[in-house]
Symmetry: C2
Subunit: 241 residues, 2 copies
Amino acid sequence: VTSSDLPPLPRLASRRSRDRRRAPRERALSREAIAKAALEIVDREGLDAMTMRSVAQALGTGAASLYAHVTSKEELLELVIDGVIGEVPTPDQPDPDRWQEQLKEVARSIRAVFSRHRDLARASFARIPLGENALRGSELMISIMRAGGLPDQVIAYACDMLPLYVMAVCYEESLYSTETNSPADLADFVAEMRTYFASLPPNRFPNLVSLAGPLTAGSEGDERFEFGLEVLVRGLAAMPG
Amino acid sequence: VTSSDLPPLPRLASRRSRDRRRAPRERALSREAIAKAALEIVDREGLDAMTMRSVAQALGTGAASLYAHVTSKEELLELVIDGVIGEVPTPDQPDPDRWQEQLKEVARSIRAVFSRHRDLARASFARIPLGENALRGSELMISIMRAGGLPDQVIAYACDMLPLYVMAVCYEESLYSTETNSPADLADFVAEMRTYFASLPPNRFPNLVSLAGPLTAGSEGDERFEFGLEVLVRGLAAMPG
DNA sequence: ACCTGAACACCGTTCAAGT
DNA sequence: ACCTGAACACCGTTCAAGT
């Protein structure tokens, strides 16, 4: 899935870290090993548990040693996230007649991948994704929309907006599964919300009261996410050049 | 703008804090005073500078004293955010013929308000907004969409999706203005991005290279945000019941 | 050239003790 | 009833000193 045999991409100047890493010794640390250890902690204990100290400990060193390979926790997170984006499968060739379905498919893949990595989605926010794999993802989405014949500027904005939506949903969903431990807990929580909306003073919140049901629907499966995808795709299709 | 003269709403059971606060003494602390001090710090120095310690210091006490009025930093943040949502102006009566424009107007107001509070938008994420003012905001959006004749379930999902988009954009924009200090800096950054995309290997990233211009357009003003609003509103209008 | 112990300057939260 | 000093168990990052 990764493209590690290709020549490395240049780095955006303002993102470039002081190039401190060297040819690694026998069993020395490396950016890859550090990122791998970090992701394992995220998967096991969540994003907050991933500290420079905990990552270092997993590798049998102290936190200070990581700074020889990574300039900051921020940069490490970027590495981890780009690696995860690399898990997103690349689908078939762009098909002009199926751009909407293909775009939705990519979005579904991203959601599926991040749902396997706890609340990592939170860290992905508002980070302009410039890693190798993120660029490939953008390239892919653009190619699908271009095949679909969308105007360039629509494609460009959509390239921002679509991941924004997907990541926001992933983060939201990761919170639910953090706060509630079992599917039954989630159902309880949703039920509590519905009852709460229904019990609000009807003179001040008539609409919240009467929509208590729909407002709390679709939190359990894919409906909510699919609704958003449909809105986005239909909206994009309706945008003038 | 606030509705402090109305009877207090019940609190969702799982959100209820141990009711530790009492009738405040002469110049004692209060939830309101604490939230006000916290927001002032956010406005002056950003979200990260808002710590329990810094808020307490601004009030002339120690951090521990805040815990008599607020159960956690999390709860304090909720208080601050709901207060800021209260700054969003409530527009005219819902007009069936203008629901799209009215919905966009609400979204613009929310963006305008949060853009005055640094990166506070970040803290608003994936927090189901259940404060007094947030509920009023939801009630308002629902009333506009109901006047527009949208199906109930579409309205309910949209109630989630619209703020999600607006807040995500607010957060993204707050990052730009944190990393870049002047408009000129922002322009430089955007230019750097454009050059970067244009300089990628064209055999691997043909679309990113050729769309370098559009991809980095509209980051300075409202176009990007307005594009998203338009997509959402058109998409919502196109959803079947 | 790389790695590290110890330190610096912080966090959120708790709790015994005060008034 | 309310407030607080001090402590607990942490953070990210730096840096002099080691090998």
